[in-house]
């Protein structure tokens, strides 16, 4: 249907493809009657949630479906070759030389006991046996430098490289035989935004240079908007919409696509939270400050994760304080210090005037009751041995809130309803029977039941499907708004921080670099590091092109510059005092 806009020859034509997996309960259709054509030099994004069949479709082109999956109908044509008719040896020769696959887990995709160079060489040798060593060397060097890595990387082992470098090695590997088609399966899902932008630009640049087709698999609408020409939206194994990025983002036709686009929070855009809830949250009586950091710092050996920091969070005015930063910024260390899991190297953490490290048994129980948390990984938070209600019931009884089993059951059910879960459906299940979103909501329900004074939410939505993020965040927002719970929201996602928080602190290498109300800090960043972060976000907005530095955009310079600039303070909020360094 796109033939009119692209006159070039197709590199891949998938006609009426269905993929099925036999299971005990019958045959499951993972992909249903999918038709798609990819032209030379075009970049096509496959977008959808986990289980939508996007990776399965891509793997069928490689003939690498997991057992016992099989293509049941249709044909796959790669530049004139019928892929499904190839025998095993012919298919082997086709892989990499004609269609390359860049896998999702760049962290573990390289053989850990081989240096980088031989891993590039064996790929060449598998397709062109007998290539002389000097030739191998010059080709691997060319590939390594084409993805912007220094040549000595070839002599290193994978564990000596950072995540972004490993991902770029995988790209170098993918293009080393100049394939007709590159399939990149969520190539940046494990990377920070800044590195993500760098890697994506490398990939796009090199794809343009060799002129191959590209399939980019992902779930992030913003990343797609910044990277591809066409978008294919998949839902439950069906291609629900296909068109140019412009068509899809500006006028999505299918309701699912509309949902996908509207669920992405934008800085400055409409709030995805309920807009009339901007009234002040209920106040609490309190004489002591709720949480106080007095010169708290943390060192791990020679590495300083957190430089001395002091602040006071008052107990009477509930606020949501966001702590924003990339991995290694010290934000998670802060979280575990606040929970008392990790003693500070210097300074004191006071909860209602008591030092966390010197609490008596009853004070400690009181502290636990009043400071709760939501963690990043909703899969790990439930003990696989128990039904999920164990995680709700146990603390309720432990803190003496229960007035008998009936009361506990009633409290659990109410909490479930409050976060939008049907208690009959979830409470008596085992954790593996629930989805990630359901589990994370249960954890929020747990916090609600215990009604603590302070909730620490450490990346609560980063492992949840995009469409559910907004509703879970609004559950958390309600905790403050309706129940007067103060919240410390730890995240790498500036857009969500912009919407939910009353105050934002940006952390960079253990220092606060910019702090203030979100409208100022995120809406109009002043510090170079905050600017870098904002620039790196892929906006699902074609008008707002990704940054301005072009393909040879180098964040290390900006980071170096950011090190020299002191912290910028952008204003205050009631109930929270950050001591200025």
């Amino acid at each position: 249907m796109l033939d009119d806009v692209t006159p070039k020859k197709p590199v891949l034509t998938m006609a009426d493809i269905s993929i099925e997996f036999p299971t005990p309960r019958g045959v499951v259709q993972a992909v249903k009657n999918l038709n798609l054509t990819i032209h030379k030099g075009r970049r096509v994004g496959f977008i959808g949630e986990s289980g939508s069949g996007k990776t399965t479709t891509a793997l069928s082109v490689m003939q690498m479906l997991a057992e016992p999956g099989r293509v049941s109908t249709g044909t796959i044509d790669l530049g004139g070759t019928d892929i499904l008719a190839l025998n095993e040896e012919e298919m082997r020769k086709t892989r990499l030389s004609r269609v390359a696959y860049i896998p999702q887990g760049a962290m573990n995709s390289l053989n850990p006991i081989m240096r980088i160079e031989p891993q590039l060489w064996d790929a060449i040798l598998a397709h062109e046996p007998g290539t002389p060593r000097a030739d191998l060397k010059s080709r691997s060097d060319a590939a390594i430098s084409s993805v912007g890595l220094p040549l000595h990387v070839g002599q290193l082992y994978p564990h000596e490289l950072s995540g972004g470098m490993k991902q770029r090695v995988c790209i170098a590997l993918g293009i080393i035989l100049t394939p007709e088609l590159i399939i990149a399966d969520e190539p940046t899902s494990a990377l920070d935004v800044v590195t993500q932008r760098q890697v994506m630009q490398t990939l796009n640049e090199i794809q343009a240079k060799i002129g191959s087709g590209l399939i980019l698999i992902g779930h992030d609408m913003g990343l797609m908007a910044q990277s591809v020409d066409e978008l294919a939206v998949l839902k439950d194994g069906e291609l629900v919409e296909h068109g140019t990025v412009k068509q899809i983002i500006e006028s999505p036709k299918h309701p699912y696509t509309q949902d996908l686009i509207s669920s992405v929070p934008l800085v400055g855009g409409d709030s995805f939270l309920n807009p009339d809830k901007q009234a002040n949250a209920p106040r609490r009586d309190s004489t002591q400050p709720l949480l106080r950091f007095e010169g708290v710092s943390k060192k791990y050996g020679a590495v300083t994760a957190l430089h001395p920091m002091s602040f006071t969070l008052q107990g009477d005015t509930p606020q949501i304080i966001s702590i924003v930063g990339q991995s290694g910024s010290g934000k998670s260390t802060m979280g575990s210090i606040m929970l008392g899991f990790n003693p500070p190297t210097t300074g004191h953490v006071l909860f209602e005037g008591h030092d966390l490290q010197r609490m008596s048994g009853t004070q400690s129980l009181e502290f636990r009751k009043n400071v709760q948390a939501v963690f990043q990984d909703p899969y790990a938070c439930f003990n696989p041995f128990y039904r999920v209600n164990h995680a709700l019931k146990f603390p309720f009884k432990q803190f003496g809130l229960s007035q008998g089993d009936k009361h506990t059951q009633q409290a659990m059910e109410e909490a479930c309803v409050a976060v939008g879960l049907d208690p009959d459906l979830v409470l008596s299940r085992y954790p593996h029977q629930l989805s990630g979103g359901q589990r994370q909501r249960l954890i929020v329900a747990r916090a609600l039941m215990l009604s603590p004074k302070l909730l620490i939410a450490d990346e609560p939505v980063s492992m949840v499907d995009a469409s559910l993020r907004a509703s879970i965040l609004s559950n958390i927002y309600d905790l403050k708004d309706k129940y007067g719970i103060s919240i410390l929201y730890i995240t790498h996602d500036l857009a969500t921080a912009y919407h939910v928080s009353d105050y934002v602190m940006v952390l960079f290498k253990g220092h606060v670099v910019e702090a203030g109300p979100p409208k100022a800090v995120i809406g109009d960043p002043q510090h170079p590091y905050t600017q870098l972060l904002i620039d790196s976000i892929p906006w699902p907005d074609l008008q707002r092109a990704w940054g301005h530095g072009g393909a040879n955009w180098d964040p290390s310079e900006q980071e170096a510059q950011a090190m020299k600039v002191g912290a910028v303070y952008r204003g205050d909020v009631e109930g929270f005092d950050l001591v200025r360094a």
């Binding site: 490689m62 082997r92 390289l110 850990p112 006991i113 064996d122 082992y157 564990h159």
Partner: protein, 336 residues
């Protein structure tokens, strides 16, 4: 090129020294807790030889002085530790006055030879079969046959040794029943001697190999399943590498690493199992020496043999630990 970090070597050396010290001390302390008096045993042996012994008390005292057991414990202990470190275990009481170290020096090469051959063969065969159980390109017949063979590998080598000995030596008489070489053959660098040694060594080695490869195969199977699911195996396939190359360079090469650590941990049990096999085949190694010493209540030999085998085990573990950083580059990195 990074080298092995110093702390790593020092840590392993400490473990080695501690192992040797603890083992030596246990071997020394246990007989001293026992009510049995070695001097009386020696006296008993003399009495058995000569009918009656006069001046029994005087002889006992002399024997005690000779054995050094009249001295304070701490003095005895220090003397013993000094001796042990120099591999001096005193004189055998049964083959008096042959030094224990001479007896061990005669027996050790046999044990070492049998051990190296059987351990290496089992390790290679076991891991290869374990890998083949998982590999998707393994012929169907193999995939059925290997797990079936696995059932018998739970049997300790001593039992398989008895069975093989009965079938191939006693019934079919294809191989000699006992000993490390023929009684009529003169030891030396001759073809007759060499073939006799091979003939005698075949059954003991086989009885170890047939039943211990399963341990490695099972371990390897689990590791291969993990490696098979790892991203680098997927990428290797996507690179269009040949299946055999992926099997060796990507799968086995990674899966074997924990097996090597397991080898270091299991080596003691394996050597002990071999000692028993030597005993039933009356093979001229440490096992037979130990068994004869137990029959004769020859304590210095029992201690010496036990100590040397433990020393051998500890040294093997140490060597495996030293080689390990060279086959797994991540270790070099982690410790540094």
């Amino acid at each position: 090129m990074s080298r092995i970090p110093k702390e790593y070597i020092i840590n392993r050396l400490i473990t080695l020294v501690l192992t040797i010290l603890i083992a030596a001390t246990l071997i020394w302390i246990i007989p001293r807790l026992s009510p049995v008096d070695p001097a009386e045993i020696a006296l008993g042996r003399m009495a058995a030889g000569a009918g009656t012994v006069e001046n029994a008390d005087e002889i006992l005292a002399t024997l005690r002085a000779q054995m050094g057991i009249d001295q304070p414990m701490i003095v005895q202990y220090i003397k013993y530790i000094k001796g042990v470190l120099l591999l001096d275990f005193g004189l055998s009481t049964a083959a008096f006055p042959t030094p224990v170290s001479a007896l061990i020096a005669n027996a050790l090469p046999w044990t070492l030879g049998l051990m190296l051959i059987s351990l290496i063969i089992t390790f290679i065969v076991g891991n290869l079969l374990g890998a083949l159980m998982v590999w998707e390109k393994t012929p169907r017949l193999w995939k059925v046959a290997i797990p079936a063979a696995m059932v018998f590998t739970s049997i300790p080598p001593i039992l398989s040794g008895l069975l093989l000995m009965w079938i191939f030596a006693a019934k079919l008489q294809w191989f000699p029943l006992t000993g490390a070489y023929g009684l009529t053959v003169e030891p030396g660098w001759t073809w007759t001697f060499a073939s006799s040694v091979l003939q005698h060594g075949f059954l003991p080695a086989l009885s170890i190999v047939v039943v211990t490869f399963g341990f490695w195969a099972l371990g390897m199977r689990g590791l291969m399943i993990t490696v098979q699911g790892e991203d680098h195996t997927t990428l290797a396939k996507a690179k269009g590498l040949k299946p055999r190359y992926i099997l060796y360079k990507y799968m086995i090469r990674n899966a074997i690493l924990p097996q090597i650590t397991a080898f270091a941990l299991k080596i003691g049990l394996l050597i002990a199992g071999q000692v028993l096999v030597e005993r039933i085949f009356a093979y001229n190694g440490m096992g037979k020496l130990l068994y004869d010493a137990i029959l004769d209540q020859d304590f210095p030999v029992i201690q010496g043999v036990s100590y040397v085998i433990i020393l051998l085990t500890a040294l093997s573990v140490f060597i495996v630990d030293l080689i390990y950083p060279f086959i797994d580059p991540r270790v070099r990195h982690e410790v540094a």
